[in-house]
Protein backbone atom coordinates (compact mmCIF):
# COMPACT_ATOMS: atom_id res chain seq x y z
CA UNK A 1 0.00 0.00 0.00
CA UNK A 2 2.50 2.57 -1.19
CA UNK A 3 -0.37 4.97 -1.72
CA UNK A 4 -1.11 5.24 1.96
CA UNK A 5 2.49 5.55 3.00
CA UNK A 6 2.79 8.43 0.54
CA UNK A 7 -0.27 10.11 1.91
CA UNK A 8 0.82 13.66 2.63
CA UNK A 9 1.06 14.87 6.24
CA UNK A 10 -1.39 17.21 7.94
CA UNK A 11 0.63 20.33 7.16
CA UNK A 12 0.29 19.67 3.46
CA UNK A 13 -3.45 20.15 3.83
CA UNK A 14 -3.07 23.09 6.20
CA UNK A 15 -1.07 24.74 3.44
CA UNK A 16 -3.09 24.01 0.35
CA UNK A 17 -6.61 23.43 1.56
CA UNK A 18 -7.75 26.89 2.76
CA UNK A 19 -6.97 28.81 -0.41
CA UNK A 20 -8.14 25.97 -2.63
CA UNK A 21 -11.46 25.67 -0.83
CA UNK A 22 -11.91 29.44 -0.96
CA UNK A 23 -11.22 29.64 -4.69
CA UNK A 24 -13.31 26.59 -5.56
CA UNK A 25 -16.23 27.83 -3.50
CA UNK A 26 -16.12 31.52 -4.38
CA UNK A 27 -14.51 31.49 -7.81
CA UNK A 28 -14.86 28.23 -9.70
CA UNK A 29 -18.33 27.39 -8.49
CA UNK A 30 -19.86 30.86 -9.07
CA UNK A 31 -18.36 31.00 -12.56
CA UNK A 32 -19.85 27.60 -13.40
CA UNK A 33 -23.10 28.90 -11.98
CA UNK A 34 -23.13 31.68 -14.59
CA UNK A 35 -23.27 29.01 -17.30
CA UNK A 36 -26.20 27.29 -15.62
CA UNK A 37 -28.13 30.46 -14.89
CA UNK A 38 -27.77 31.55 -18.52
CA UNK A 39 -30.08 28.65 -19.43
CA UNK A 40 -32.77 29.73 -16.95
CA UNK A 41 -35.09 32.70 -17.24
CA UNK A 42 -36.41 35.46 -15.07
CA UNK A 43 -40.05 36.14 -14.38
CA UNK A 44 -41.13 38.98 -12.12
CA UNK A 45 -37.53 39.54 -10.99
CA UNK A 46 -37.17 35.91 -9.87
CA UNK A 47 -35.22 33.11 -11.48
CA UNK A 48 -37.40 30.34 -12.84
CA UNK A 49 -35.69 26.96 -12.63
CA UNK A 50 -36.61 25.66 -16.03
CA UNK A 51 -34.07 25.01 -18.79
CA UNK A 52 -34.48 27.25 -21.79
CA UNK A 53 -32.55 28.74 -24.69
CA UNK A 54 -34.63 31.89 -24.79
CA UNK A 55 -31.84 34.22 -23.57
CA UNK A 56 -29.50 33.09 -26.31
CA UNK A 57 -32.28 33.15 -28.88
CA UNK A 58 -32.99 36.75 -27.96
CA UNK A 59 -29.35 37.80 -28.09
CA UNK A 60 -28.65 36.19 -31.45
CA UNK A 61 -31.83 37.46 -33.05
CA UNK A 62 -31.58 41.11 -32.06
CA UNK A 63 -29.40 43.59 -33.88
CA UNK A 64 -28.46 45.85 -30.89
CA UNK A 65 -26.64 42.95 -29.24
CA UNK A 66 -24.63 42.26 -32.37
CA UNK A 67 -23.82 45.93 -32.75
CA UNK A 68 -22.63 46.25 -29.17
CA UNK A 69 -20.51 43.12 -29.55
CA UNK A 70 -18.86 44.36 -32.72
CA UNK A 71 -18.36 47.81 -31.18
CA UNK A 72 -16.59 46.25 -28.20
CA UNK A 73 -14.51 44.05 -30.45
CA UNK A 74 -13.43 46.98 -32.62
CA UNK A 75 -12.63 49.22 -29.64
CA UNK A 76 -10.58 46.51 -27.93
CA UNK A 77 -8.69 45.63 -31.09
CA UNK A 78 -7.84 49.29 -31.65
CA UNK A 79 -6.70 49.52 -28.04
CA UNK A 80 -4.37 46.55 -28.63
CA UNK A 81 -2.88 48.13 -31.75
CA UNK A 82 -2.35 51.53 -30.17
CA UNK A 83 -0.95 50.25 -26.92
CA UNK A 84 1.50 48.06 -28.84
CA UNK A 85 2.49 50.99 -31.07
CA UNK A 86 3.00 53.29 -28.08
CA UNK A 87 4.33 50.68 -25.67
CA UNK A 88 6.90 49.01 -27.89
CA UNK A 89 9.23 52.01 -28.39
CA UNK A 90 8.73 52.92 -24.75
CA UNK A 91 9.73 49.47 -23.49
CA UNK A 92 12.61 49.37 -25.98
CA UNK A 93 14.03 52.68 -24.83
CA UNK A 94 13.75 51.77 -21.17
CA UNK A 95 15.33 48.36 -21.68
CA UNK A 96 18.16 49.29 -24.04
CA UNK A 97 18.84 53.02 -23.94
CA UNK A 98 18.62 53.77 -20.26
CA UNK A 99 21.07 52.74 -17.58
CA UNK A 100 20.06 49.93 -15.22
CA UNK A 101 19.86 52.27 -12.27
CA UNK A 102 17.08 54.32 -13.80
CA UNK A 103 15.27 51.37 -15.38
CA UNK A 104 13.84 50.14 -12.11
CA UNK A 105 12.83 53.69 -11.19
CA UNK A 106 11.00 54.21 -14.47
CA UNK A 107 9.20 50.90 -14.16
CA UNK A 108 7.98 51.76 -10.67
CA UNK A 109 7.00 55.22 -11.92
CA UNK A 110 4.98 53.55 -14.66
CA UNK A 111 3.10 51.42 -12.15
CA UNK A 112 2.07 54.52 -10.18
CA UNK A 113 -0.71 55.67 -12.54
CA UNK A 114 -1.68 52.05 -13.08
CA UNK A 115 -2.06 51.59 -9.34
CA UNK A 116 -4.20 54.71 -8.98
CA UNK A 117 -7.91 54.28 -8.47
CA UNK A 118 -9.54 53.48 -11.78
CA UNK A 119 -12.61 55.67 -11.25
CA UNK A 120 -10.45 58.65 -10.39
CA UNK A 121 -8.38 58.27 -13.54
CA UNK A 122 -11.51 58.01 -15.66
CA UNK A 123 -12.96 61.05 -13.93
CA UNK A 124 -9.81 62.98 -14.67
CA UNK A 125 -10.10 62.16 -18.37
CA UNK A 126 -13.64 63.48 -18.16
CA UNK A 127 -12.26 66.83 -16.92
CA UNK A 128 -9.63 66.86 -19.66
CA UNK A 129 -11.77 65.82 -22.62
CA UNK A 130 -15.05 67.63 -21.88
CA UNK A 131 -16.41 70.20 -24.33
CA UNK A 132 -15.40 72.98 -21.96
CA UNK A 133 -12.59 70.81 -20.61
CA UNK A 134 -8.89 71.41 -20.31
CA UNK A 135 -7.88 70.11 -23.73
CA UNK A 136 -10.40 72.32 -25.53
CA UNK A 137 -9.51 75.33 -23.38
CA UNK A 138 -5.86 74.76 -24.16
CA UNK A 139 -6.37 74.39 -27.90
CA UNK A 140 -8.64 77.43 -28.03
CA UNK A 141 -6.14 79.52 -26.12
CA UNK A 142 -3.53 78.58 -28.71
CA UNK A 143 -6.05 79.37 -31.49
CA UNK A 144 -5.62 75.91 -32.95
CA UNK A 145 -9.39 75.50 -32.95
CA UNK A 146 -12.28 77.96 -32.83
CA UNK A 147 -15.11 75.80 -31.54
CA UNK A 148 -14.51 73.03 -29.04
CA UNK A 149 -14.13 69.54 -30.44
CA UNK A 150 -16.48 66.95 -29.05
CA UNK A 151 -14.52 64.00 -27.67
CA UNK A 152 -16.13 63.21 -24.35
CA UNK A 153 -19.22 61.00 -24.57
CA UNK A 154 -18.07 59.55 -27.85
CA UNK A 155 -16.20 56.28 -28.15
CA UNK A 156 -13.08 58.21 -29.14
CA UNK A 157 -12.88 59.14 -25.48
CA UNK A 158 -13.45 55.48 -24.58
CA UNK A 159 -10.52 54.63 -26.83
CA UNK A 160 -8.28 57.24 -25.20
CA UNK A 161 -9.26 55.73 -21.85
CA UNK A 162 -8.54 52.15 -22.96
CA UNK A 163 -5.14 53.08 -24.35
CA UNK A 164 -4.31 55.06 -21.24
CA UNK A 165 -5.50 52.36 -18.83
CA UNK A 166 -3.90 49.36 -20.48
CA UNK A 167 -0.79 50.50 -22.36
CA UNK A 168 1.15 50.18 -19.11
CA UNK A 169 0.42 46.48 -18.98
CA UNK A 170 1.60 46.05 -22.58
CA UNK A 171 4.75 48.06 -21.90
CA UNK A 172 5.58 46.10 -18.75
CA UNK A 173 5.20 42.73 -20.48
CA UNK A 174 7.30 43.92 -23.42
CA UNK A 175 9.91 45.33 -21.08
CA UNK A 176 10.20 42.10 -19.15
CA UNK A 177 10.69 40.12 -22.36
CA UNK A 178 13.34 42.61 -23.50
CA UNK A 179 15.11 42.71 -20.18
CA UNK A 180 15.52 38.94 -20.20
CA UNK A 181 17.28 38.95 -23.57
CA UNK A 182 20.82 37.77 -23.13
CA UNK A 183 23.01 40.82 -23.82
CA UNK A 184 25.77 38.59 -25.21
CA UNK A 185 23.54 37.95 -28.20
CA UNK A 186 23.49 41.65 -28.98
CA UNK A 187 27.24 41.95 -28.49
CA UNK A 188 27.76 38.98 -30.78
CA UNK A 189 25.53 40.52 -33.43
CA UNK A 190 27.43 43.79 -33.21
CA UNK A 191 30.78 41.99 -33.40
CA UNK A 192 29.61 40.17 -36.49
CA UNK A 193 28.85 43.53 -38.05
CA UNK A 194 25.09 43.78 -37.67
CA UNK A 195 23.75 47.32 -37.54
CA UNK A 196 21.24 48.29 -34.88
CA UNK A 197 18.32 47.88 -37.21
CA UNK A 198 19.32 44.39 -38.28
CA UNK A 199 19.93 43.37 -34.66
CA UNK A 200 16.45 44.57 -33.90
CA UNK A 201 14.76 42.68 -36.73
CA UNK A 202 16.66 39.44 -36.29
CA UNK A 203 17.18 39.20 -32.55
CA UNK A 204 15.19 41.60 -30.45
CA UNK A 205 11.85 41.46 -32.22
CA UNK A 206 11.57 37.64 -32.43
CA UNK A 207 12.52 37.34 -28.75
CA UNK A 208 9.91 39.90 -27.67
CA UNK A 209 7.17 38.35 -29.78
CA UNK A 210 5.78 36.27 -26.86
CA UNK A 211 5.65 39.39 -24.71
CA UNK A 212 3.85 41.23 -27.47
CA UNK A 213 1.26 38.49 -27.80
CA UNK A 214 0.77 38.19 -24.05
CA UNK A 215 0.39 41.96 -23.81
CA UNK A 216 -2.15 41.96 -26.63
CA UNK A 217 -4.16 39.23 -24.94
CA UNK A 218 -4.26 41.15 -21.67
CA UNK A 219 -5.12 44.48 -23.27
CA UNK A 220 -7.86 42.85 -25.30
CA UNK A 221 -9.42 40.96 -22.39
CA UNK A 222 -9.31 43.91 -20.02
CA UNK A 223 -10.72 46.44 -22.46
CA UNK A 224 -13.36 44.01 -23.70
CA UNK A 225 -14.53 43.44 -20.14
CA UNK A 226 -14.19 47.08 -19.10
CA UNK A 227 -17.41 48.71 -18.10
CA UNK A 228 -16.25 51.82 -16.23
CA UNK A 229 -14.30 53.47 -19.05
CA UNK A 230 -17.08 53.28 -21.67
CA UNK A 231 -19.77 54.41 -19.21
CA UNK A 232 -17.86 57.41 -17.93
CA UNK A 233 -16.17 58.50 -21.13
CA UNK A 234 -18.13 56.93 -23.96
CA UNK A 235 -21.37 57.49 -25.79
CA UNK A 236 -24.28 56.23 -23.75
CA UNK A 237 -26.57 55.82 -26.72
CA UNK A 238 -24.17 53.35 -28.32
CA UNK A 239 -23.41 50.93 -25.51
CA UNK A 240 -20.55 48.46 -25.58
CA UNK A 241 -21.07 44.81 -24.71
CA UNK A 242 -20.06 45.09 -21.05
CA UNK A 243 -22.57 47.91 -20.55
CA UNK A 244 -25.34 45.61 -21.74
CA UNK A 245 -24.38 43.12 -19.05
CA UNK A 246 -24.42 45.78 -16.34
CA UNK A 247 -27.77 47.11 -17.62
CA UNK A 248 -29.23 43.64 -17.12
CA UNK A 249 -27.79 43.43 -13.61
CA UNK A 250 -28.44 46.91 -12.20
CA UNK A 251 -31.27 48.03 -14.48
CA UNK A 252 -33.72 45.32 -15.45
CA UNK A 253 -32.37 42.88 -12.81
CA UNK A 254 -32.45 40.02 -15.29
CA UNK A 255 -29.63 37.84 -14.00
CA UNK A 256 -30.20 35.03 -16.49
CA UNK A 257 -29.92 37.42 -19.42
CA UNK A 258 -26.83 38.98 -17.84
CA UNK A 259 -25.37 35.49 -17.46
CA UNK A 260 -26.02 34.61 -21.08
CA UNK A 261 -24.24 37.78 -22.18
CA UNK A 262 -21.43 36.99 -19.74
CA UNK A 263 -21.08 33.49 -21.21
CA UNK A 264 -20.64 35.04 -24.65
CA UNK A 265 -17.95 37.29 -23.21
CA UNK A 266 -16.19 34.34 -21.56
CA UNK A 267 -16.29 32.35 -24.80
CA UNK A 268 -14.78 35.31 -26.66
CA UNK A 269 -12.00 35.68 -24.10
CA UNK A 270 -11.18 31.97 -24.05
CA UNK A 271 -11.14 31.88 -27.85
CA UNK A 272 -8.69 34.80 -27.95
CA UNK A 273 -6.53 33.15 -25.29
CA UNK A 274 -6.33 29.83 -27.12
CA UNK A 275 -5.80 31.42 -30.51
CA UNK A 276 -3.01 33.80 -29.48
CA UNK A 277 -1.25 31.78 -26.81
CA UNK A 278 -0.90 28.89 -29.24
CA UNK A 279 0.92 31.31 -31.53
CA UNK A 280 3.32 32.04 -28.71
CA UNK A 281 3.98 28.33 -28.29
CA UNK A 282 4.67 27.71 -31.96
CA UNK A 283 6.80 30.82 -32.20
CA UNK A 284 8.78 29.72 -29.16
CA UNK A 285 9.25 26.19 -30.43
CA UNK A 286 10.46 27.50 -33.76
CA UNK A 287 12.95 29.85 -32.18
CA UNK A 288 13.87 27.38 -29.45
CA UNK A 289 13.86 30.24 -26.98
CA UNK A 290 12.38 30.50 -23.54
CA UNK A 291 9.50 32.94 -23.52
CA UNK A 292 8.99 33.34 -19.80
CA UNK A 293 11.53 34.43 -17.32
CA UNK A 294 11.05 32.86 -13.94
Amino acid sequence: MARIRNFPPLRFFVGFLPITVWEVLFFLFPVILIFMVSFLYVKELRLVYEWTFRNYAKIFSMLPYWEAYLRSFRLSLTAVLFSAAIGYPLAYTIAFEISRRYQRLLIVAMIVPFWTNYLIRAYSWQIILANSGLLNQFLQALHVIETPIRILYTHNATEVGFIYFYMVLMTLLLYSSMESINRDLLEAAADLGAKKFRTFIEIIFPLTYPGLIAGSVFVFILSFGDFVGPSILGGGKNPVFSQLIVDEIQGTVNLSMASALAVIMVVTIVAILILLLRRVETATLRKGGKPWRQ
Binding site: P8, V14, G15, F16, P18, I19, T20, W22, E23, F26, F27, L28, P30, V31, L33, I34, V37, P89, L90, T93, E97, L106, V108, A109, M110, I111, V112, P113, W115, T116, N117, Y118, L119, I120, R121, Y123, S124, W125, Q126, I127, I128, Q137, Y164, A190, K195, I221, F224, D226, F227, I232, S242, I245, V246, I249, Q250, A258, S259, A262, M265, I269
Partner: protein, 267 residues
Protein backbone atom coordinates in the same frame (compact mmCIF):
# COMPACT_ATOMS: atom_id res chain seq x y z
CA UNK B 1 28.71 48.35 -28.81
CA UNK B 2 30.65 51.55 -28.74
CA UNK B 3 31.36 51.10 -32.45
CA UNK B 4 28.43 53.16 -33.70
CA UNK B 5 28.73 56.46 -31.95
CA UNK B 6 28.09 58.90 -34.75
CA UNK B 7 25.84 61.93 -34.81
CA UNK B 8 22.95 59.80 -36.02
CA UNK B 9 23.16 57.46 -33.05
CA UNK B 10 23.13 60.46 -30.73
CA UNK B 11 20.14 61.90 -32.49
CA UNK B 12 18.07 58.71 -32.28
CA UNK B 13 19.10 58.34 -28.66
CA UNK B 14 17.81 61.85 -27.97
CA UNK B 15 14.58 61.21 -29.85
CA UNK B 16 13.91 58.03 -27.88
CA UNK B 17 14.53 59.81 -24.59
CA UNK B 18 12.18 62.60 -25.60
CA UNK B 19 9.63 59.94 -26.42
CA UNK B 20 9.94 58.43 -22.95
CA UNK B 21 9.39 61.86 -21.40
CA UNK B 22 6.28 62.43 -23.54
CA UNK B 23 4.89 59.00 -22.70
CA UNK B 24 5.35 59.58 -19.00
CA UNK B 25 3.72 62.98 -19.41
CA UNK B 26 0.69 61.23 -20.90
CA UNK B 27 0.67 58.69 -18.04
CA UNK B 28 0.86 61.29 -15.30
CA UNK B 29 -1.36 63.97 -16.86
CA UNK B 30 -4.67 62.74 -15.37
CA UNK B 31 -3.12 62.38 -11.94
CA UNK B 32 -1.65 65.87 -12.08
CA UNK B 33 -5.02 67.24 -13.17
CA UNK B 34 -6.83 65.64 -10.23
CA UNK B 35 -4.31 66.88 -7.70
CA UNK B 36 -4.03 70.42 -9.10
CA UNK B 37 -7.78 70.99 -9.39
CA UNK B 38 -8.47 69.63 -5.92
CA UNK B 39 -6.73 72.81 -4.71
CA UNK B 40 -8.61 75.16 -7.06
CA UNK B 41 -11.62 77.21 -5.93
CA UNK B 42 -13.78 76.98 -9.09
CA UNK B 43 -16.46 74.35 -9.44
CA UNK B 44 -15.44 73.83 -13.07
CA UNK B 45 -11.80 73.38 -13.98
CA UNK B 46 -10.49 76.46 -15.75
CA UNK B 47 -7.08 76.90 -17.20
CA UNK B 48 -5.46 80.05 -15.97
CA UNK B 49 -5.00 78.69 -12.45
CA UNK B 50 -6.45 80.60 -9.53
CA UNK B 51 -5.26 80.86 -5.98
CA UNK B 52 -4.74 77.78 -3.87
CA UNK B 53 -7.58 76.64 -1.60
CA UNK B 54 -8.41 73.78 0.77
CA UNK B 55 -12.14 74.41 0.48
CA UNK B 56 -12.98 71.06 -1.15
CA UNK B 57 -11.02 69.12 1.44
CA UNK B 58 -13.05 70.95 4.10
CA UNK B 59 -16.25 69.96 2.35
CA UNK B 60 -15.06 66.40 2.13
CA UNK B 61 -14.27 66.17 5.83
CA UNK B 62 -17.76 67.36 6.76
CA UNK B 63 -19.44 64.95 4.36
CA UNK B 64 -20.70 62.32 6.81
CA UNK B 65 -21.74 59.84 4.13
CA UNK B 66 -18.39 60.04 2.39
CA UNK B 67 -16.56 59.41 5.66
CA UNK B 68 -18.85 56.48 6.46
CA UNK B 69 -18.01 54.96 3.07
CA UNK B 70 -14.32 55.53 3.67
CA UNK B 71 -14.64 53.68 6.98
CA UNK B 72 -16.42 50.82 5.20
CA UNK B 73 -13.58 50.60 2.70
CA UNK B 74 -10.98 50.50 5.45
CA UNK B 75 -12.84 47.74 7.30
CA UNK B 76 -13.10 45.69 4.10
CA UNK B 77 -9.51 46.40 3.08
CA UNK B 78 -8.01 45.43 6.43
CA UNK B 79 -10.05 42.22 6.71
CA UNK B 80 -9.30 41.23 3.12
CA UNK B 81 -5.59 41.91 3.42
CA UNK B 82 -5.17 39.81 6.56
CA UNK B 83 -7.28 36.87 5.34
CA UNK B 84 -5.61 36.95 1.93
CA UNK B 85 -2.07 37.16 3.24
CA UNK B 86 -2.73 34.29 5.66
CA UNK B 87 -4.20 32.09 2.92
CA UNK B 88 -1.47 33.17 0.52
CA UNK B 89 1.34 32.45 2.95
CA UNK B 90 0.05 28.97 3.79
CA UNK B 91 -0.17 28.04 0.13
CA UNK B 92 3.15 29.65 -0.78
CA UNK B 93 4.93 27.78 2.00
CA UNK B 94 3.29 24.52 1.03
CA UNK B 95 4.36 25.12 -2.58
CA UNK B 96 7.92 25.54 -1.35
CA UNK B 97 7.84 22.43 0.82
CA UNK B 98 6.11 19.96 -1.46
CA UNK B 99 6.64 19.14 -5.08
CA UNK B 100 3.07 19.29 -6.26
CA UNK B 101 2.43 16.97 -9.20
CA UNK B 102 -0.20 19.37 -10.49
CA UNK B 103 1.75 22.50 -9.66
CA UNK B 104 1.16 24.18 -13.03
CA UNK B 105 -2.53 23.40 -12.89
CA UNK B 106 -2.69 24.81 -9.38
CA UNK B 107 -0.84 28.00 -10.32
CA UNK B 108 -2.98 28.39 -13.44
CA UNK B 109 -6.13 28.01 -11.38
CA UNK B 110 -4.86 30.57 -8.89
CA UNK B 111 -4.15 33.12 -11.60
CA UNK B 112 -7.72 32.70 -12.86
CA UNK B 113 -9.30 35.27 -10.53
CA UNK B 114 -6.60 37.76 -11.51
CA UNK B 115 -7.28 37.34 -15.24
CA UNK B 116 -11.06 37.18 -15.37
CA UNK B 117 -12.64 40.64 -15.86
CA UNK B 118 -14.06 41.78 -12.54
CA UNK B 119 -17.41 42.38 -14.22
CA UNK B 120 -17.78 38.61 -14.71
CA UNK B 121 -16.50 37.79 -11.24
CA UNK B 122 -18.89 40.33 -9.77
CA UNK B 123 -21.87 38.85 -11.60
CA UNK B 124 -20.86 35.32 -10.61
CA UNK B 125 -20.53 36.26 -6.95
CA UNK B 126 -23.75 38.25 -6.96
CA UNK B 127 -25.65 35.24 -8.28
CA UNK B 128 -23.91 32.81 -5.96
CA UNK B 129 -24.02 34.78 -2.71
CA UNK B 130 -27.26 36.65 -3.15
CA UNK B 131 -29.49 34.39 -5.17
CA UNK B 132 -28.26 30.94 -4.19
CA UNK B 133 -26.99 31.33 -0.65
CA UNK B 134 -29.49 34.11 0.13
CA UNK B 135 -26.80 36.15 1.88
CA UNK B 136 -28.05 39.72 1.65
CA UNK B 137 -25.61 42.13 0.04
CA UNK B 138 -23.32 43.70 2.63
CA UNK B 139 -19.72 44.42 3.52
CA UNK B 140 -19.40 40.76 4.48
CA UNK B 141 -20.06 39.79 0.85
CA UNK B 142 -17.52 42.35 -0.31
CA UNK B 143 -14.88 40.83 1.99
CA UNK B 144 -15.60 37.31 0.72
CA UNK B 145 -15.45 38.52 -2.88
CA UNK B 146 -12.32 40.64 -2.66
CA UNK B 147 -10.45 37.80 -0.97
CA UNK B 148 -11.08 35.71 -4.11
CA UNK B 149 -8.80 38.10 -6.02
CA UNK B 150 -6.43 39.09 -3.24
CA UNK B 151 -5.52 35.65 -1.82
CA UNK B 152 -3.84 34.40 -5.03
CA UNK B 153 -2.21 37.80 -5.43
CA UNK B 154 -0.73 37.53 -1.92
CA UNK B 155 0.33 33.95 -2.66
CA UNK B 156 2.35 35.02 -5.71
CA UNK B 157 4.07 37.83 -3.79
CA UNK B 158 4.95 35.66 -0.79
CA UNK B 159 6.04 32.81 -3.04
CA UNK B 160 8.53 35.09 -4.78
CA UNK B 161 9.89 36.12 -1.39
CA UNK B 162 10.14 32.55 -0.06
CA UNK B 163 12.17 31.60 -3.11
CA UNK B 164 14.91 33.97 -2.05
CA UNK B 165 15.29 32.20 1.31
CA UNK B 166 18.05 29.63 1.23
CA UNK B 167 16.83 26.09 1.78
CA UNK B 168 19.88 25.35 3.95
CA UNK B 169 18.63 27.74 6.66
CA UNK B 170 15.58 25.60 7.12
CA UNK B 171 17.64 22.42 7.10
CA UNK B 172 19.98 23.89 9.70
CA UNK B 173 17.00 24.63 11.95
CA UNK B 174 15.78 21.04 11.57
CA UNK B 175 19.25 19.67 12.29
CA UNK B 176 19.36 21.73 15.45
CA UNK B 177 16.19 19.99 16.56
CA UNK B 178 13.52 22.54 15.64
CA UNK B 179 10.18 21.06 14.63
CA UNK B 180 8.17 22.15 11.60
CA UNK B 181 6.16 24.77 13.45
CA UNK B 182 9.15 26.12 15.30
CA UNK B 183 11.05 26.42 12.02
CA UNK B 184 8.17 28.29 10.47
CA UNK B 185 7.85 30.58 13.46
CA UNK B 186 11.52 31.31 14.02
CA UNK B 187 13.09 31.03 10.59
CA UNK B 188 10.55 31.28 7.80
CA UNK B 189 8.23 33.96 9.19
CA UNK B 190 10.94 36.47 10.14
CA UNK B 191 12.75 35.97 6.85
CA UNK B 192 9.61 36.32 4.76
CA UNK B 193 8.30 39.27 6.80
CA UNK B 194 9.08 41.85 4.09
CA UNK B 195 7.09 39.78 1.58
CA UNK B 196 4.22 39.42 4.03
CA UNK B 197 4.14 43.15 4.72
CA UNK B 198 4.22 43.90 1.00
CA UNK B 199 1.37 41.42 0.47
CA UNK B 200 -0.67 43.09 3.23
CA UNK B 201 -0.14 46.55 1.77
CA UNK B 202 -0.81 45.60 -1.84
CA UNK B 203 -3.90 43.50 -1.16
CA UNK B 204 -5.24 46.33 0.99
CA UNK B 205 -4.98 48.82 -1.87
CA UNK B 206 -6.31 46.28 -4.35
CA UNK B 207 -9.42 45.90 -2.22
CA UNK B 208 -9.63 49.58 -1.28
CA UNK B 209 -9.69 50.61 -4.97
CA UNK B 210 -11.95 47.86 -6.31
CA UNK B 211 -15.23 49.17 -7.64
CA UNK B 212 -17.33 46.83 -9.77
CA UNK B 213 -17.57 43.78 -7.50
CA UNK B 214 -18.18 46.03 -4.48
CA UNK B 215 -20.88 47.84 -6.44
CA UNK B 216 -22.67 44.56 -7.16
CA UNK B 217 -22.49 42.94 -3.73
CA UNK B 218 -22.23 45.77 -1.19
CA UNK B 219 -25.97 46.50 -1.01
CA UNK B 220 -26.65 49.54 1.15
CA UNK B 221 -23.18 49.56 2.71
CA UNK B 222 -21.34 51.43 -0.01
CA UNK B 223 -17.55 51.39 -0.11
CA UNK B 224 -15.64 54.51 -1.11
CA UNK B 225 -15.35 53.71 -4.85
CA UNK B 226 -19.08 52.91 -4.95
CA UNK B 227 -19.81 56.28 -3.34
CA UNK B 228 -17.47 58.06 -5.75
CA UNK B 229 -19.26 56.36 -8.62
CA UNK B 230 -22.60 57.77 -7.53
CA UNK B 231 -21.01 61.20 -7.02
CA UNK B 232 -19.59 61.07 -10.55
CA UNK B 233 -22.99 60.25 -11.99
CA UNK B 234 -24.20 63.50 -10.44
CA UNK B 235 -21.84 65.59 -12.58
CA UNK B 236 -18.58 67.38 -11.91
CA UNK B 237 -17.86 67.87 -8.20
CA UNK B 238 -14.50 69.09 -6.93
CA UNK B 239 -14.88 67.02 -3.74
CA UNK B 240 -14.24 64.05 -6.04
CA UNK B 241 -10.85 65.62 -6.81
CA UNK B 242 -10.13 65.99 -3.12
CA UNK B 243 -11.20 62.42 -2.34
CA UNK B 244 -9.23 61.24 -5.38
CA UNK B 245 -6.10 62.98 -4.19
CA UNK B 246 -6.44 61.37 -0.76
CA UNK B 247 -6.95 57.89 -2.27
CA UNK B 248 -4.05 58.45 -4.65
CA UNK B 249 -1.72 59.45 -1.82
CA UNK B 250 -2.74 56.41 0.19
CA UNK B 251 -2.37 53.88 -2.65
CA UNK B 252 0.94 55.27 -3.78
CA UNK B 253 2.48 55.39 -0.32
CA UNK B 254 1.47 51.77 0.13
CA UNK B 255 2.93 50.89 -3.27
CA UNK B 256 6.22 52.64 -2.51
CA UNK B 257 6.38 51.08 0.96
CA UNK B 258 5.79 47.59 -0.41
CA UNK B 259 8.41 48.20 -3.09
CA UNK B 260 10.81 49.15 -0.29
CA UNK B 261 10.02 45.95 1.61
CA UNK B 262 10.28 43.77 -1.48
CA UNK B 263 13.73 45.13 -2.30
CA UNK B 264 14.93 44.73 1.25
CA UNK B 265 17.40 41.90 1.76
CA UNK B 266 16.51 39.17 4.22
CA UNK B 267 17.37 39.64 7.86
Amino acid sequence: MAAIKGKRADLSHMALRLYVILAFGFLFLPIAVIIIFSFQPGRYPNLPLNEFTLKWYGEMIYDRVLLECMKNSVVVGVSVSFISTALGFLAAYALRSYKLRVENLFLGFMSGPLTVPSLLLGLALLIFLNTFLSISNSLFSVILSHTVICAPFAMFIVRARLRSIDKTLEEAAWDLGAGTWQTIREVILPLSAPGLIAALLLTFTLSFDEFIIAWFVSGFQATLPVKIWSMMRGGIKPTINAAGTVIFTLSISFLVLSEYFLRKKSG
